[in-house]
């Protein structure tokens, strides 16, 4: 075990895989930084410092700095993958799927199916998502609800440095296109990370707190909020299962359903807006498949149906708070 920051787990894992497999290439805006400047390359190594040092080690044909052209970046990743490489493309902010969705949704995700199973498309698309930086409506969004709905994509949402390492390794070695969502407010999070060839299979949720009374499902920044609530309630003798799905596509339905079969109560806490989101998806799953176990209505705790506001007070009020999460848990506990 080594202590490592979330962001460092990203770059370490990429470097290890690039070392191991010459087909792995990285591309994106400023992933080198300083190209074409007097200060020279490696000025930055990605604005999240998630590619620092790669250019020096692997050179310009494997660490490709691109102009501001997200469609071309995603499309190039698609072409690299079809041509036998294993691209890791960075979308600086998840919000930029707005300018590049076609290549993700209508190309990468569908090649294998449209081509009758005769190709693979091993591309990883990394992107920084989430609020917490007061970056306002166009630089703070969650997009997993959009991408999870798209058949052909796998969607990964690591919530700890260890999960970054284990899941990113799996993503890079996976032969299907994988969306890898890094929460920007977690980049500075430190944690123990297993050494060596550590990997985590997709579709296996992680139980971060165990209890018998309520099932809480969450990930990313809000997972910490949920754990805090669970810890607080534990002191009162209320037990919460806190489940981090780790991957939303595939989703570990079993882990969630098994837990609800015991607790009979579900609270899903998610950062995406409320309509057609992951929270509704999981609530509907449970309402269907664990109907008879349910003792209370499944609760979704999400931001409101609004864009993301700028001011500190507003962003804080926008995000689900521990108070709101606690209230939802108490609501299902107190039902009828």
């Amino acid at each position: 075990m080594a202590q490592m920051m979330y962001r460092d787990a990203v770059v370490t894992t990429i470097a290890e895989e690039m070392e191991r497999d010459p087909n792995v290439v990285v591309l994106g805006e400023d992933v080198v930084g300083g190209m074409g400047t007097a200060g020279g390359p490696e000025a930055i190594g990605g604005i999240w410092s998630t590619s620092t040092g790669l250019y020096g080690k692997f050179g310009k044909d494997r660490v490709i700095d691109t102009p501001i052209s997200e469609s071309a970046i995603m499309g190039a990743a698609a072409g690299l993958a079809l041509a036998g490489k294993r691209p890791i493309a960075e979308l600086m902010f998840a919000d930029f799927i707005g300018v590049s969705l076609d290549q993700i949704w209508n190309q990468l995700a569908k090649f294998r199916y449209m081509f009758g199973g005769k190709t693979k498309c091993p591309a990883v698309i990394r992107m920084a998502y989430g609020a917490g930086y007061n970056a306002a409506a166009q630089h703070s969004q969650s997009v997993h609800q959009i991408l999870t709905g798209m058949p052909g994509l796998k969607v990964v949402m690591p919530s700890t440095p260890a999960d970054v390492k284990g899941l990113l390794r799996t993503a890079i070695r996976d032969d299907d296109p994988v969306i890898f969502l890094e929460h920007k407010a977690l980049y500075g999070m430190s944690g123990d990370v297993p050494e060596g060839d550590y990997s985590i299979p997709f579709g296996h949720a992680r139980l971060t707190r165990a209890g018998q009374d309520v099932t809480i499902v969450s990930s990313g920044l809000l997972l910490g909020f949920c754990e805090a609530v669970a810890d607080k309630l534990a002191a009162e003798g209320i037990g919460c299962d806190v489940i981090d799905p780790r991957t939303t596509s595939p989703l570990d339905e079993e882990a969630i359903l098994d837990s609800v079969e015991v607790t009979g109560r579900l609270v899903v806490v998610d950062e995406a807006p409320p309509r057609c989101g992951l929270a509704a998806d999981i609530c509907a799953l449970v309402a269907d498949k664990a109907f008879s176990s349910l003792k209370a209505p499944p609760q979704a705790v999400t931001p409101p149906h609004t864009p993301i506001p700028f001011a500190r007070e507003l962003e804080t009020a926008y995000l689900p708070s521990t108070d709101k999460i606690e209230a939802a848990v108490r609501k299902v506990l107190g039902w009828r």
Binding site: P67, S71, A72, A76, A83, Q103, G116, K118
Partner: protein, 323 residues
């Protein structure tokens, strides 16, 4: 450079296969047996063949919604394609893709594409892979005069220049995007190549109705790109003999336009006149090929018609390799 007799016969045969493939589809589609949207390549054969005759399986191409010609020229199997268009599970894509999504990765054919402009960035990616492999292979993006207005096409050109990717942008200017004329939709009118030039690429222009113009031009372009000079672009002036898609009433055509282009701008006629005029091949050679090709297309249709249909369970297959 003078082509060998074999090369000439092969080029003619390739063009003729495309022509008859498409003419036959045009007829078959009237019966309602074939589903979906179909865009025929008739009239542009010299471009696909003039380009692809230079390529090996390790060179890649990325095609468009009007992809049959590119597929056939790049070596996709006629029977597999016909079966695919018929929606059979014996089709090249098991009936999942259809006309707009035919691909054959082993042949270096990375897919027709239903999204206008989507191909160019993908081709740049394939070119970056070729560059990394360092074996002088190239990747080619076919785009129409309409696709040249899509942002992705521009982004791809710039990215190719910036990364010095061995990518060739082949613009097939058939003067129409759907029902709209190129004079309207492309700000710079008939000149697409000068746009590419403004992105810092070396560009060529050729007559897309003349196989030899295409083939000679592409020889130069490929030499330049394979030598590691970065990307390049070529614009070929050509003609589309059918409507945008099957069913298009073509009210945008001028009086007599279709007859005129069939008469004076038919790449097969032009090829035949040229090679027989120069006594490189005689009419009998070509007539024999014509008959052979017609037979092959007949066969392909018969096979497609008789081929296995997909089953409902097939819907679920091949979404992921493992999930």
């Amino acid at each position: 450079m003078q082509l060998s007799r074999d090369a000439l016969l092969r080029a003619y045969r390739q063009m003729k296969v495309i022509r008859e493939f498409e003419e036959r589809l045009h007829t078959e589609i009237q019966t309602g047996e074939i589903a979906g949207f179909t865009h025929l390549y008739c009239g542009q054969e010299a471009v696909a063949v003039g380009v692809c005759e230079h390529l090996s399986n390790d060179d890649k191409i990325v095609s468009t919604h009007r992809g049959h010609g590119h597929c056939l020229a790049k070596g996709c199997d006629v029977n597999g394609m016909m079966a695919e268009i018929w929606g059979s599970r014996e089709g090249l894509c098991k009936g999942k893709g259809g006309s707009m999504h035919i691909a054959d990765i082993d042949q270096g054919m990375l897919g027709a594409n239903g999204i206008v402009g989507a191909g160019a960035p993908i081709a740049v990616g394939a070119a970056l892979a070729a560059k990394l492999n360092g074996e002088g292979k190239v990747s080619i993006a076919f785009s129409g005069d309409g696709a040249c207005n899509q942002g992705t096409t521009f982004e791809a050109m710039n990215l190719a220049v910036v990364t010095q990717a061995p990518c060739i942008f082949v613009f097939e200017n058939n003067h129409y995007s759907e029902h709209t004329g190129v004079d309207y939709a492309v700000g710079t009118a008939r000149d697409i190549a000068s746009r590419a030039e403004a992105f810092g690429m070396k560009v060529w222009r050729g007559d897309g109705t003349d196989f030899f113009s295409v083939h000679d031009t592409m020889r130069e372009v490929l030499e330049y790109v394979r030598a590691g000079n970065g990307p390049a672009a070529v614009e070929f002036d050509t003609e589309r003999f059918f409507g945008h898609f099957e069913g298009d009433p073509q009210r945008y055509r001028g009086p007599g336009e279709l007859d005129r282009i069939r008469e004076t701008r038919d790449c097969l006629k032009i090829f035949r006149a040229s090679v027989t005029g120069a006594k490189l091949l005689d009419h009998a050679d070509l007539d024999a090929l014509d008959a052979e090709v017609l037979k092959a297309i007949d066969d392909a249709v018969d096979k497609a018609r008789a081929a296995d249909r997909p089953t409902p369970e097939d819907v679920l297959a091949d979404v992921y390799i493992a999930y």
